[in-house]
């Protein structure tokens, strides 16, 4: 108790620093994958991608980042166990942040596959098992999170498969694919707006002072969907049919209509990514703050302070602007074989899955979800060539990241314990 009273401010400052660093890492590295499909299909330029990412990553983090942050903060460790020694939670969360951020830095310098989500969860589980004992961990919650890591790519793949099949059926097989595209694309835009708003409204907005009933949320979501779909329809009107003679099916015109749609899915993806991944950075920070502010009492019911999410969102934006733009360019130019119609199906499927997970409070890997979504499009025979070795890389990132994050966290945990007592 006295330790917290004595060093409270240092703890908060350290946590803010580490959290910001971690958010910087998320912005610098992870955002590139989330925006990669949109940039790779050349639906938006790199500059546009960065602008979209800055705005919507921040909005996602701020508006819908609360649930996952809560899970990271108090869902994995049972707070009841720490009533006696609340400072251990502070050390642990600081250690977890530092461990995940360090690991992220090492792995990306070496070019190893890495997932922010996996490293932070691994780190938290690691320090609690080593420092507090295995019974401190809520294994049920951890099991649920681990299951969501398997389910999320599968779900995204299934949605992407269905979406792309519907596109094939409704548009590519139509007698006039271009006209069909113009007719149906606003419906897909509606879907984007509706899904994102619905999940955000029903799950997220309590901390900004907006508490809506389910009916009101539904109504508002439909309204939001209609609004963006009208906007999409308006933007689409400028797209002209292809004038190239060689293009007898008009597919290049169709792709340009999908290019309009991609702008919306890119926004949704950035929003989804922000809402889920901000927690990796600010979840531990929020835990530290609540311990310090309540003077050591670990109160389970407190809401995440709004400025914490803003700090996380800000960190992501800074990472994006300082370093992420380069990574976006690299990833985007690496993905050359993706056309907007495929990119849209994959991105929307991933965005919906991630937003759903954010609403449920499950920390999942955006990259893995996107991989699942792209594979789903591939199964619908939409991709010219996909290297399935990526599945092996994902398995590797599980095997490497979890123990690495855990090991580093344990190391840092005992360092802090030695330093502050």
């Amino acid at each position: 108790m006295s330790i917290i009273a004595q060093h409270g401010e240092i703890f908060i400052i350290l946590a803010c620093l580490f959290g910001f660093f971690m958010a910087w890492g998320v912005g610098a590295n992870d955002v590139a994958n989330a925006m990669g499909t949109s940039v790779g299909s050349r639906a938006i330029t790199i500059k546009q991608a960065i602008i979209i990412a800055v705005i919507f990553e921040f909005l996602g983090a701020w508006l819908a980042g609360g649930e996952v942050t809560n899970t990271i903060r108090k869902g994995i460790i049972d707070p009841e166990m720490l009533q006696e020694d609340p400072q251990l939670l502070v050390y642990g969360m600081l250690a977890a942040l530092l461990a995940a951020a360090t690991w992220l830095l090492i792995a990306s310098m070496k070019g190893w596959p890495v997932s922010t989500t996996h490293s932070i969860v691994g780190a938290i589980v690691g320090f609690s098992v080593a420092g507090l004992g295995a019974s401190a961990v809520d294994w049920g919650a951890v099991g649920q999170i681990a299951a969501s890591w398997i389910v999320s790519p599968l779900l995204a793949g299934t949605i992407a498969f269905t979406l792309f099949k519907s596109v094939q059926h409704l548009i590519f097989e139509a007698n006039d694919p271009f006209a069909a595209a113009k007719r149906y694309v606003p419906m897909y835009v509606f879907l984007v707006g509706f899904a994102v708003t619905m999940v955000t409204l029903t799950k997220g907005l309590k901390h900004v002072g907006l508490d809506l009933s389910f009916g009101a949320s539904l109504l508002l979501s439909i309204l939001a969907g209609l609004l963006v779909s009208a906007l999409g329809g308006f933007m689409e009107r400028r797209v002209q049919a292809s004038s190239r003679k060689t293009d007898q099916f008009g597919f290049s015109g169709v792709e340009r209509v999908f290019g309009v749609l991609m702008i919306f899915t890119a926004c949704a993806m950035a929003f989804a990514h922000g809402s889920n991944d901000v927690a990796n950075a600010v979840g531990p920070l929020a835990a530290v703050i609540s311990v310090v502010q309540t003077g050591g009492e670990i109160e389970a019911a407190a809401l995440v302070p709004w400025w914490v999410l803003v700090l996380g969102g800000g960190g992501i934006v800074v990472g994006l602007v300082t370093y992420g733009r380069k990574v976006i360019a690299t990833v985007g130019t690496g993905i050359t074989e993706l056309t907007p119609s495929r990119g849209f199906a994959a991105t929307l499927a991933a965005a919906v899955t991630v937003v759903l997970a954010s609403g449920t409070g499950l920390p999942i890997s955006t990259t893995h979800t996107l991989v699942g979504a792209v594979l789903g499009v591939g199964l619908a025979r939409g991709m010219a060539a996909l290297n399935l070795r990526v599945i092996g890389t994902i398995a590797m990132s599980w095997l490497i990241t979890l123990p690495a994050g855990a090991g580093l966290a344990i190391l840092f945990f005992f360092t802090f314990k030695g330093m502050f007592g």
Partner: protein, 226 residues
């Protein structure tokens, strides 16, 4: 910093572009056959040698494309068509270029001149074979667009039309072959036996050219049958 981002590593290079480039090379190679033949008819062996050189060059380039395509298709690659069908297709395509090289090689090496009576039918026959190859190329160009849209009902309609035309050309080549053989049989007595033997061989090989072009078509049909 990020040298091997697993996410971007997932997106392989489309094998259809190299496949198309390959058949374009092959068909350019086959196109050389006609001017080459004209040169042999007038006995201009220098010009024939130049055409022969471009044939070997194009054949060589096609070979390289084939190797490159094979190297870029590891068995972890997931494609919208069967990988083995794709590899079959490229080897059938490659055999077209090889055959053109063989034909021009023997004709130049032996300084073969087709007897005057046979010149016109032989010219038509070769033209049909070259048209067959061009048609195969055309089919593949169409297919590439359709593959990029992820197939659909359109694919079978368009393919049917293209394959039917290919089949018609091949049939025509067969008929021409029979007519030329019959004509050559009447001339046999007046010609040196070895020349006759090789001429039969050339006739055979030109036939194989259209045969293989048709086989490209049937491979495409198998690939797109879903």
């Amino acid at each position: 910093m990020v040298t091997s981002n697993p996410f971007s590593a997932m997106f392989g290079r489309s094998p259809f572009q190299p496949l198309l480039t390959h058949i374009v090379k092959t068909s350019e190679c086959a196109d050389q056959l006609l001017p080459f033949f004209e040169a042999t008819l007038v006995g201009d062996w220098d010009a024939a040698a130049i055409h022969r050189e471009s044939v070997t060059r194009l054949e060589h380039e096609a070979d390289e494309l084939k190797t490159e395509l094979r190297l870029n298709l590891p068995n972890t690659m997931f494609l919208p068509v069967s990988r083995s069908d794709l590899l079959d297709l490229i080897s059938v395509q490659d055999k077209i270029a090889n055959k053109v090289r063989d034909i021009t090689g023997i004709m130049l090496g032996r300084r073969m001149q087709v007897p005057e009576e046979l010149a016109q039918p032989m010219r038509d026959y070769m033209r049909t074979a070259v048209a067959c190859v061009a048609q195969a190329r055309h089919a593949l160009e169409e297919l590439k667009d359709l593959l990029e849209s992820g197939f659909g009902r359109n694919v079978s309609d368009v393919m049917q039309k293209l394959i039917r035309e290919l089949h018609r050309l091949e049939q025509q080549a067969d008929d021409q072959q029979i007519a030329i053989r019959r004509q050559l049989f009447g001339l046999e007595d007046r010609m040196p036996p070895v020349d006759v033997m090789f001429l039969y061989k050339i006739i055979d090989w030109v036939g194989e050219l259209s045969d293989r072009a048709e086989r490209v078509g049937s491979r495409l049909q198998i690939m797109t049958a879903n």
